[in-house]
Symmetry: C2
Subunit: 316 residues, 2 copies
C-alpha cells in the first residue's frame, strides 16, 4: 500500500532536483470555467511531465548494487524520457524498450538523455516479454511506468505542492492513464484537504478506468483511438486499481473534441503548451462535463510534450 | 524626455492592475545559449503582451474630461487589444482604426474587449489621417502605439521588474518595433544596473531602426516582409529615436529563420507560447548572432499572441 507518509518522503527525496512547478491562475479561465481555478503546471516539469517525480523517487532509492546493474522500462512516452533523464543525472544505465514504429522524435529525445533504446516489432512480440527477458538476462531492475509504490508516491508530490500553494480545494481533477498520478494525487489531496473531492478523467475512447472504478471489475481497452496518447494504457494496475477505488471520489471520460477546445484555450489565452493528455482534467471543467460551479478547483496539467507541428490540424 | 522617475511612477500607476510577470530560467536554455538567461515573460501579461503596461499608464493619467471624451488609436496589433482592455477596465470609450483586411481574429479580439473598430481601405487612405480626422471630429484623445512619454515609461516597467527579480544583468536584449519598449527598457536597465549593455533587435527585412541607430539619420522601411508582425512599424518615432540613440548600446537584425528556430525551442522545450516578434531579443543570443558568452543575460519575451494554427507551417 501507499500512504501519505510515502508521498511526504518522496517530496524530500526529489527536493532540489525536480522543479517545484508554478500554480497558474487566470481570471479569464475562472470566467470560462465558472470556478476559481488553480493549475499545477507539470508541463513545466523537467522532461516536460510529472513523470520525472516518480522516476526520480524510484531510481534514487535503489541500492548501490541495483544502480550498478542498471534499469529497464517499456514506454514510448513521457515515462521513458523521464527515466532516461533521471538515470543520466544519477549515473545509472537505462534501457528503454520501444516499438520500432515509435515517432522518430521520441526515439531521439530518449537517446538524447543517454538511454539505450531497444526496438521491437509490435506485430511479433510484446514489450512486457522483451523487457522481462532483458531484465533476466542482464539483471536490470524494471521500473514500470505506474504500477510501483515509489512511482505512485512520487507522482503524489505534485498534488501535495498544489494544495500547499493554492490552499484548501473543493475539487481536484486529475488525468488518468494507468492511474499512478491519479492514485498518488488522491492520497495526497485527501490527507491534506479531507473535504476535497478527487475526480479522475480519461479519454472517452479509452474509458476502461472509469468503468473499472464504477463496477469494481478491472476493464481493459487496448489501443484506444484518442489524441491523448499518454492515456492509451490498457487498464489500471494491480496497485493502482485498489488505490483509485479507495481514494478517488468519481471518474468520467471526455471526448477528443473537448481536449482540443481546452488545449486551444490554454495555448492561445494562457500561452502555455500542454499536450492532449495533459488537459484531461481541465477539459472536464472547461467543457462543463461535470457539475461543479463556484468552487475552488485544482487541476493537474500533467504534461507539455505536444507535437507543436500538429497544431494546424488540431486548431481551426 | 522620459527619465527613470517616469518609469518608477508608471510602476506605481500600474501596480495591482498589470501582472507582475514571472522571470523564467532554464538550464536547458542556458546550455543552448552559452549564458545564464533570464526571460521576462510578457507573453503572460494581460492581453498577451507588454503593451498593456504603457496603455494603462497613459489612459489612467487622463483627466476626467479627456476620459469622458474617449480615446482613439490606429493599430492592428497588440497595442489595439491592450488599449481596448484598458479602456474596458477604466470605463473609457475606445475607438480603434484598423485596415479592413486585418485578420478576423484580431478584429474579433479587439471588439471582444468592447472597443469600437473603424475599418478603412489601406489602398485609399492612411490610418494616421483617419484617426486624426476622427479625433478632431469627436474630441477623442489619441493614444499612439509608441511615440508618447507615458507609453514609453509604462513599457519600461517590464525591464525594471526584470532587474529587480533577476539581479544585476550584463546584457539585456529587447525586441524593437517603434522603439517604445526598447527605449523604456534601456532607461530602466541603465539606471538600475549601470554596467548592463542594452541591445535592440529587429527583423532583418525591417532593419530601419538598426540603420537609424548606427547612422544617426532616421531610416524608414514600409511593410517589410517578416513574420515579426509587431515590428513592421516603418521607423522609430520622434521621441523614441533620440532615446534609443542616447540609452541603447547596440542594435542588430535577425532573420525570420532565426525567429522560427528560437520559437520552436521556446514552445517545445520551455512550453511557452511566444509570437515571432516576442522572440526577437532571444533569437540574437540563441542563434549566436551577437558575441556574448558566459554572461548574465536578460531578455524580454515581449508577447504571446501567436496564431497557433500557423505552427505547422513554421515548424517542421
Amino acid at each position: 500500500m501507499v500512504t501519505f507518509d510515502d508521498i511526504a518522503s518522496a517530496a524530500q527525496q526529489i527536493a532540489g532536483v525536480a522543479h517545484r512547478t508554478t500554480v497558474a491562475t487566470s481570471r479569464l479561465l475562472d470566467a470560462a470555467c465558472g470556478n476559481r481555478m488553480f493549475l499545477k503546471c507539470e508541463n513545466l516539469q523537467r522532461a516536460g511531465a510529472f513523470k520525472f517525480r516518480g522516476a526520480y523517487n524510484a531510481v534514487s532509492r535503489l541500492s548501490e548494487a541495483e544502480r550498478a546493474a542498471g534499469v529497464i522500462t517499456h514506454s514510448s512516452g513521457n515515462h521513458a524520457q523521464a527515466l532516461a533523464l533521471v538515470c543520466q543525472l544519477l549515473g545509472v544505465r537505462a534501457t528503454i524498450v520501444m516499438p520500432q514504429n515509435a515517432p522518430p522524435q521520441k526515439l531521439a529525445a530518449t537517446r538524447d538523455y543517454g538511454a539505450e533504446v531497444v526496438l521491437y516489432d509490435p506485430a511479433t512480440a510484446t514489450r512486457e516479454a522483451i523487457s522481462r527477458d532483458l531484465a533476466e538476462e542482464h539483471g536490470y531492475v524494471l521500473i514500470p511506468p505506474y504500477d510501483h509504490p515509489h512511482i505512485i508516491a512520487g507522482q503524489g508530490t505534485a498534488a501535495m505542492e498544489l494544495v500547499a500553494d493554492a490552499g484548501p480545494l473543493d475539487y481536484l481533477f486529475v488525468p488518468c492513464g494507468g492511474g499512478g498520478l491519479l492514485s498518488g494525487s488522491a492520497i495526497a489531496a485527501k490527507h491534506l484537504a479531507p473535504g476535497c473531492k478527487v475526480i479522475g478523467v480519461e479519454p472517452a475512447a479509452g474509458d476502461d478506468a472509469t468503468r473499472s472504478f464504477k463496477t469494481g471489475f478491472l476493464h481493459t481497452v487496448r489501443n484506444p483511438d484518442t489524441i491523448a496518447d499518454g492515456a492509451r494504457t490498457p487498464s489500471l494496475g494491480q496497485l493502482t486499481f485498489p488505490l483509485v477505488r479507495q481514494h478517488v471520489d468519481d471518474m468520467l471520460a471526455v471526448s477528443d473534441d473537448d481536449l482540443i477546445r481546452t488545449m486551444q484555450f490554454v495555448w492561445t489565452r494562457l500561452k502555455l503548451i500542454v499536450e492532449p493528455t495533459g488537459v484531461l482534467g481541465l477539459a472536464a471543467v472547461f467543457n462543463r462535463r461535470y457539475p461543479v460551479e463556484g468552487q475552488r478547483v485544482g487541476v493537474i496539467l500533467s504534461g507539455g510534450n505536444a507535437d507543436v507541428a500538429m497544431a494546424g490540424q488540431w486548431f481551426r
